[in-house]
């Protein structure tokens, strides 16, 4: 029998970026709030402190900051004919754990999608007609425009502390920035980071090829910074321990540097760690939630936390899982293409070239997760989908993130993977390679979805979530297009040798190698309750006091890293809750 905790106005599930943002915004409304975090508490010092944190074996390889599959995982299959098996060893994607969530171990890459991406279906239909949309592609518009979101992107970027160079200020093109970005109302809060030689070299080649390179925007402080909450960052020293690590230097944008100490001062805010939410509980009429049941790890018991407002702010996969377990939204059925929860799971289609230069020295140990120069010349806004035969786009980036010895030693194909030959290869090539990455969009399809697994259960006896996902021809055509455009630019840099890594026709999803932790969709936002789980304010269509944060809201994945959009949507939703919902709780659409 679950113990019942004292009722709160708001319960927030998960204390990462979106949980912290909603906590802050709603605490400022005077509401009594509790955030429930399944993981541990963590602070820069002592949890990320030097030199303990810069241990590649512990954190880079053994994934010390990630969730343990034995505590929490899902099953995966590539199509409905396969039997899904539990993801027992993290590979393809790495969900984090603990206060700060993925916001502590990300690379810091921060983007706003391009203008066409918010209304992609309309954009395609207007320009080329619905005929070019593959039959099994569930292509949708975002139910909110860029113009509406702009102030909230801006807010997030200034809270998070993003370094970068504007290329389009209120419609005016700015030399040195990204000419293809959507117009922004303000400069980035900090100037761009300095660029390493590989980025500069790529920019030179890209420019010669007629492209428009600009410094990559990222949540890595280029100088001392104070945000609107009085929270602070210190300038980065380019140690290269960003992704998979917590920053020991207060230099990477995270809930710890941007929000948490300010939030913890609020007397009406409280958070509990080791508190894993098991289910959202519903009122008898099924129209609203009454709170959540969580497992209190320290007490070893279940606790019911009543609340008037439930904010799902866990990682995308966990939000979808909780919604499926709690009966929020009709589960998606691929046979009929009906149902909303679990619909339109999408990922990211990435590729790239690695080049080896006998006579170049790159000093790869200098870097950051968001380092380098990018181009958006092959972004969605610039591609003739009708002519090229796919829907999608990518941004490219060259910029070393680290020179860590276990995972960051690129070797020319054919070099032995162990023994004397490997050592010789390392001696010859360490520090002499660079790469260009293509970071591409991924559309949503009827066959890629999330539901509850019929076989496997977690340690609480709940069914695991099941992912059914495979690469699709449209996105492979997109990435092959990128390869054809990148090859001549890479060649123009005159490497001693080069090798490509782009998915080819017929490629099957492989969960073993790391690809990206950009899992999106499953709780998509839309203006039609038949094809979306949440409305334009991230409010559950069928339970108005549940709001669902995170990348689950993306109808299909954008060509960029998702954090900027996740942060912008969180501020957008928080604004709607504050200004429209609290005074009169109801369905806002």
């Amino acid at each position: 029998m679950a113990r019942t905790a004292k009722k709160k106005d708001v319960v927030i599930v998960g204390l990462g970026w979106t949980g912290s943002i909603l906590g802050m915004e709603l605490a400022n409304e005077g509401l009594e709030i509790v955030a429930l975090e399944r993981g541990h508490d963590q602070n820069t010092v002592p949890d990320f402190q030097y030199p303990n944190m810069i241990d590649e074996l512990k954190y880079g390889v053994r994934l010390g900051m990630m969730q343990k599959p034995r505590n929490s995982t899902l099953t995966i299959r590539r199509n409905v004919d396969e039997a899904a098996l539990p993801y027992r060893s993290l590979g393809s994607f790495l969900p984090g754990i603990g206060v700060g969530g993925a916001g502590t171990h990300w690379n810091g890459l921060n983007w706003r999608p391009q203008l066409s991406e918010y209304r992609l279906r309309s954009h395609v239909e207007e320009r080329w007609g619905a005929g070019i949309i593959p039959e099994d592609m569930n292509l949708q518009d975002y139910p909110v425009s860029y113009e509406e979101l702009e102030p909230f992107f801006d807010r997030f970027e200034h809270v998070a502390g993003i370094s970068g160079k504007a290329g389009n200020l209120n419609g005016k093109k700015i030399e040195g920035g990204n000419p293809f970005e959507a117009p922004r109302s303000r400069e980035y809060p900090m100037p761009p980071m300095p660029v390493t030689w590989d980025g500069a070299k790529f920019a030179e080649a890209a420019k010669a090829a007629g492209c428009h390179p600009f410094p990559s925007p990222g949540g890595i402080a280029s100088q001392a910074y104070v945000n609107e909450y009085g929270m602070q960052m210190g300038p980065c020293n380019h140690c290269g321990f960003c992704e998979r690590y917590g920053c020991y230097n207060y230099s990477k944008s995270s809930p710890q540097t941007a929000i948490l100490d300010a939030l913890k001062r609020k007397p009406n805010f409280e958070y509990r760690t080791h508190a894993e939410v098991l289910k959202i509980e519903m009122a008898p009429d099924g129209k609203t939630a009454t709170g959540v049941t969580y497992f209190d790890e320290k007490a070893g018991e279940e606790v019911f936390q009543p609340a008037d407002l439930v904010i799902l702010a866990a990682y995308q996969l966990h939000n979808v899982h909780l919604m499926l377990l709690s009966g929020i939204g009709q589960p998606f059925d691929p046979a009929t293409n009906e149902g909303v929860t679990g619909r339109s799971y999408a990922y990211q289609m990435n590729g790239g070239y690695t080049m080896f230069f006998k006579d170049e020295v790159f000093n790869p140990f200098i870097g950051t997760g968001a380092n380098g120069m990018s181009i958006d010349d092959f972004g969605m806004d610039n591609i003739d989908f009708g002519r090229e035969g796919f829907i999608g786009g990518a941004y490219w980036r060259a910029g070393q993130s680290n020179g860590q010895p276990i995972r960051s030693m690129a070797l020319p194909a054919g070099t032995p993977t162990w023994g004397a030959g490997w050592k010789k290869g390392i001696g010859e090539w360490y520090g002499h390679s660079m790469s260009i990455g293509s970071h591409g969009s991924h559309m949503s399809y009827r066959g890629n979805y999330l539901d509850l697994d019929p076989t496997y259960k977690d340690r609480h006896g709940r069914p695991l979530m099941r992912m059914t996902f495979n690469w699709q021809p449209n996105d492979i055509r997109m990435t092959q297009f990128m390869k054809s455009k990148m090859e001549p630019i890479a060649k123009s840099m005159n490497p001693t040798s080069m090798q490509e890594g782009f998915k080819k026709d017929g490629a099957m999803y492989d969960v073993r190698p790391y690809q990206t932790t950009h899992n999106v969709g499953g709780t998509v936002m839309g203006d039609n309750p038949k094809t979306s789980a949440i409305n334009r304010y991230l409010q559950a269509w069928d339970k108005h006091n549940i709001f669902v944060m995170g990348a689950g809201a993306f109808p299909q994945n954008t060509q960029y890293n998702p954090t900027g959009m996740v942060g912008g949507l969180a501020y957008w939703a928080a604004h709607a809750i504050r200004t429209q919902y609290l005074s009169n709780p109801r369905p806002l659409v």
Partner: protein, 438 residues
């Protein structure tokens, strides 16, 4: 001969009587410096504000104890003095104190039973409080602070310091005039002076002590006032010399430091961090600006804004030999700078300039070059944390390097810091490190 003996006898009797009188005749208490009506009501909040300004809580609250219930040990050169319970509890606190009793404690350092307080209670400074503030404080402690029954350990110093009556003589020599008299036409300066000299009791740490262990000056008319002192073995830096922080920093920067424990140059550590945490962050922006204005004006440069120092040097500062050495990072670099690169440079950088409000400057930092290396070593070994304040809520924490540096290494690194860039302070030994390590 008889006459002589008689004289001796009379003198002896007089002496004994005098001594007995000195010990037993009650001390004359200082009267109120202004006549306020008996039913005077202090403005709402002014008592708590004066308490914050006086930082009463810092000493009179034990670690983890109830506010003002006493029991915190104050380490003095004479031994441990236990802070008393100043809640309005009648048995164990000050519940029986009349307004006159209360004023006597703050002005004269006398308890309501007539015994002398040890001057760990800074009545040398509280003596300057206005009657309005005395009333506000009295009302606050009697009506707003919850009574807590907490019997605090009796202070038991060894002889002769356990003879409290001896303090009477000390008081004759140490105590100045009661109340505060403004000396300037500038109201901001006067307000700053009042806060610094009175409630703020800055001189208790920042003024040197004279031969009698009294503060060498309790206002700016004394040359030694606020020119640096010592607290528990730590150096409280000079606030008036040309290289002192108030003289090098702008008034606004100094005020920001007082309000948030951090500014463009430095961060507060040790006792000063506690002062910001418990006291200064609660002052109004105007009051902290007034304090800064006063400190700047009474310094050697008299508040002139002319750049006096490296930290105020133009943008293109010269590259020091230290910066050059750290940048080149040659293999034969000595141990100190090598350890700096391995442990410190990531935040404080090769130029020792750090970053505004988060990584303090080490070049010209008064903690680094302090007479006593205890503060520097303590931060190096055990780390430091900034308090969460309203304007700057982040508890920025520097990690300690206790586990990473042995005594010789810590000494080499500290010595390097004390002599790097423009710094010029004596070296540190492994024994110094050993004494600080905990």
């Amino acid at each position: 001969m008889k006459t002589f003996l008689r004289v001796i006898l009379i003198l002896a009797v007089l002496g004994v009587v005098g001594l007995l009188a000195f010990i037993f005749v009650p001390v004359q208490r200082t009267a109120a410096v202004a006549q306020l009506p008996a039913d005077y009501k202090a403005p709402a909040g002014s008592g708590e504000y004066a308490m914050r300004a006086g930082d009463c809580m810092a000493c009179h609250t034990a670690e983890g104890g109830k506010p003002f219930a006493g029991g915190r040990p104050i380490h003095s050169p004479m031994g441990t003095i236990w802070a008393t319970n100043i809640t309005p509890d009648k048995e164990t606190g000050i519940g029986n104190y009349t307004l006159d009793d209360f004023r006597a404690a703050l002005y004269d350092g006398v308890r309501n039973d007539g015994a002398h307080l040890y001057p760990a209670m800074p009545y040398e400074n509280y003596r300057k409080l206005t009657e309005e503030d005395i009333r506000a404080l009295y009302q606050y402690f009697m009506t707003e602070v919850p009574a807590v029954s907490n019997k605090v350990e009796e202070t038991a110093l060894s002889f002769p310091f356990n003879q409290r009556w001896g303090i009477r003589a000390w008081n004759w020599l140490a105590l100045g005039k009661p109340g505060f008299e403004p000396v300037s036409q500038d109201e901001q300066f006067n307000r700053g002076a009042y806060l610094v000299q009175g409630a703020g009791h800055c001189a208790a740490c920042h003024s040197p002590r004279n031969l009698l262990m009294a503060q060498d000056g309790t206002d700016e008319s004394s040359a030694a006032f606020l020119t640096g002192g010592e607290i528990d073995g730590y150096t409280a830096p000079d606030l008036r010399g040309p290289q002192s922080a108030p003289q090098k920093w702008s008034t606004e920067e100094l005020a920001a430091y007082l309000t948030t424990a951090r500014n463009a140059h430095s961060t507060a550590t040790g006792e000063m961090m506690l002062v910001v945490r418990d006291s200064l962050q609660y002052m109004t922006p105007e009051d902290n600006l007034a304090i800064a204005t006063y400190l700047k004006k009474i310094g050697s440069t008299g508040g002139s804004t002319a750049p006096a120092t490296p930290s105020a040097a133009p943008e293109k500062a010269e590259v020091t030999d230290t910066e050059k050495m750290l940048t080149e990072a040659k293999a034969d670099m000595p141990l100190g700078p090598r350890l700096y690169l391995d442990n410190c440079g990531g935040c404080h950088f090769v130029n020792g300039k750090g970053a505004a409000e988060i990584f303090p400057e080490l070049d010209g930092n008064s903690l680094v070059t302090a007479k006593s290396s205890k503060g520097l070593l303590d931060v190096m070994l055990h780390g430091a944390e900034l308090p969460s304040t309203k304007d700057r809520p982040m508890r920025v924490r520097m990690q300690g390097y206790n586990d990473r540096l042995n005594d010789e290494e810590a000494a080499a690194l500290a010595t390097f810091l004390r002599q790097a860039w423009h710094n010029d302070a004596p070296p540190v030994t492994a024994e110094d490190v050993k004494a600080v390590r905990r």
